[in-house]
């Protein structure tokens, strides 16, 4: 059985990873006893490759969850390889298929092992794979008789991007907060603080315009969820996210109810939505 989660033919994906132009910058075997060492190695390489601290943490949890899946639900051990291209870090986590023969034989009738395929890794909401999909820019997962292989990529932010800025504009019956740059731990805290201040006024009507957003990490995602939580808790307050990037939309949907956010294509359309009853 082969499963693929982003539509690219699996064979092509496998070739993409293995035909990367450079040798891997990290190639490490792991089992249950070496997950800490694996996390430490990934953190070191992520930082050295230029991932921002928040994104490096995201990469560490993503690799850990995939490796833990290989240990718990796969062969009990596996291998991590990390490549660096000009634009991204690509990580491949593989397990070796069937559990150890001794372990696989336990409780199985004679010959049953032949018919057994690698157990699929769990992908339920709120579980490890779900979080991986929230934080990685791309996730591919394949399960087959030869084991399970997961590939995740983390885009390296181009240097010289615009710094974070939060511009406030008062429009008729609403306030537009325009976010520029990267939404991370620090800027996310500034955003939640700014929204909290807006909510001091009665029946606040807010538009969060994200058309100039250049990137985000898990803390940035959490900040958007927190902002919506603040608005929901304030009496008669409303918030519309304008120009929400499709990738960010996908990541937010992994974190809870789909109808948590009201979205619009742009600030003008958002303003129309706010004027609707």
């Amino acid at each position: 059985m082969t499963t693929d989660h982003d539509g690219t033919p699996p064979q092509q994906k496998r070739q993409d990873a293995r035909q990367a132009p450079h040798p891997p910058i990290l190639d490490q075997a792991f089992d249950a006893g070496s997950l800490y060492a694996l996390r430490a190695a990934v953190a070191a390489h992520a930082t050295s490759a230029g991932l921002a601290p928040g994104r490096a943490d995201d990469l560490v949890i993503a690799v850990h969850e995939l490796a833990a899946n290989a240990v718990r639900h796969g062969a009990g051990h596996g291998r991590l390889r990390v490549w660096r291209s000009d634009h991204a870090l690509l990580c491949e986590i593989t397990d070796d298929g069937l559990p150890d023969p001794q372990q696989a034989d336990d409780g199985l009738p004679d010959g049953a092992q032949e018919a057994q395929t690698t157990p699929e890794w769990r992908a339920e909401p709120g579980h490890g794979l779900s979080l991986v999909r929230q934080v990685a820019d791309q996730t591919t997962l394949r399960s087959g008789r030869d084991g399970t292989s997961a590939t995740i990529s983390f885009v390296l932010a181009p240097s010289g991007g615009p710094p974070f800025a939060l511009a406030r504009q008062q429009r008729e019956h609403c306030t537009v907060l325009t976010v520029t740059g990267l939404l991370d731990l620090t800027s996310g805290a500034q955003l939640t603080q700014a929204v909290q201040e807006e909510l001091r006024s009665q029946k606040a009507r807010l538009i969060l315009d994200l058309h100039s957003l250049t990137g985000w990490d898990a803390a940035g995602l959490a900040a958007l969820i927190t902002v919506q939580q603040q608005v929901s808790a304030a009496p008669d307050a409303r918030l519309v996210l304008a120009a929400l990037p499709a990738q960010l939309d996908k990541h937010l949907r992994g974190a809870g109810p789909h109808d948590r956010f009201t979205v619009a294509e742009n600030a003008t359309r958002a303003q129309q939505k706010l004027s609707e009853p």
Partner: protein
């Protein structure tokens, strides 16, 4: 998984001469705060001698929810240095120290006295430190039939096993934090003030049995549950979900209690009053707080996430 067989700090009573061992300052402050809190709640006079300045000592107690200002103002609580009490400059004499203790016991009178002494003074260049076992023996004798309890606090990393063994015999009880997991990577122990658990290091699914036990025991107590994860550098999804599920359990329990309360309001006596809204207070660094939010923390009414930046 390890669970210490020592007495819990919350189980101490009058007359106890207890030997507390701790592994780090955070643990010392936590256990002392519980000792002080229970003493103040019981109306006893409470004295804590330590090598921290009185301001630092009382600030650490205040940080753990003790109403120190009122207690200091009324004289019920005293936080002080050793000098003029246990020590005279850099000189220790068992007789001198006992004179001070007996005077304190007299002053407290019927009110009763709780005395906590951080014994780290004995690690310094103090003349007469060899009389420490003699002092501990005299304390044990002096407490019989009185309303005074004494908690001697020893850093188990810094005191040598021989010294610890030589003084242990004079104590009525041995006290330590309940520990659910302790190795080089991770420590899971009970926190006493405010009540809950403390997580330090790197926590992944391999320690989930220890975490489950710690959470189960913390929830079994009454009141809010604090999960102090400030010293935690990493948590994986399995363990984060376990903490969130425990918080959801507090919500569910509240729902059940509310239903019983409704029955009572309708005249169906269930023997219970209005439900008490229990909360889980999760304290952690901002990066970990974001992970909990992505896993659904914002949708759990009983959970309050407090981010702590200045660890």
């Amino acid at each position: 998984m390890t669970i210490s067989a020592d007495t819990q700090i919350t189980e101490l009573t009058v007359n106890d001469h207890a030997c507390l061992t701790f592994g780090e300052p955070e643990e010392l402050f936590d256990l002392t705060a519980a000792f002080v809190r229970d003493g103040l709640d019981g109306g006893l006079k409470v004295v804590w001698l330590s090598d921290a300045t009185p301001d630092r000592a009382t600030a650490e107690l205040a940080r753990r929810g003790i109403a120190v200002e009122e207690a200091l103002a009324s004289g019920q609580l005293v936080a002080a240095s050793y000098d003029g009490r246990l020590l005279d400059g850099q000189v220790f004499s068992a007789g001198h120290a006992m004179t001070w203790l007996e005077r304190e016991m007299q002053r407290a009178g019927n009110q009763g006295l709780r005395l906590a002494v951080d014994m780290s003074w004995a690690l310094g260049p103090v003349t007469g430190v060899e009389h420490l076992p003699e002092f501990e023996e005299q304390v044990a004798a002096a407490l019989a039939g009185t309303a005074t309890s004494v908690l001697c606090q020893y850093d188990r990393e810094r005191f040598d096993p021989v010294t610890l063994a030589s003084v242990a015999a004079f104590h009525t009880r041995s006290v330590a934090a309940a520990t659910y997991h302790a190795d080089v990577m991770l420590r899971i122990c009970r926190q006493y003030a405010p009540a809950g658990i403390r997580l330090a290091g790197e926590l992944d699914y391999q320690a989930c049995d220890s975490l489950a036990l710690a959470l189960t025991e913390a929830i079994r107590l009454e009141g809010d549950v604090t999960v102090n994860a400030v010293p935690l550098a990493f948590i994986d999804v399995t363990c984060a979900r376990m903490i969130l599920d425990a918080a959801r359990g507090l919500d569910a329990a509240r729902g059940l209690e509310a239903a019983r309360g409704l029955d009572a309001a309708r005249g169906l006596d269930t023997g219970r009053g209005q439900p008490e809204a229990r909360r889980m207070i999760l304290r952690c660094r901002p990066g970990l707080a974001a992970r909990f939010v992505l896993l659904g923390a914002a949708d759990i009414p009983a959970l309050r996430v407090v981010t702590v930046d200045d660890h």
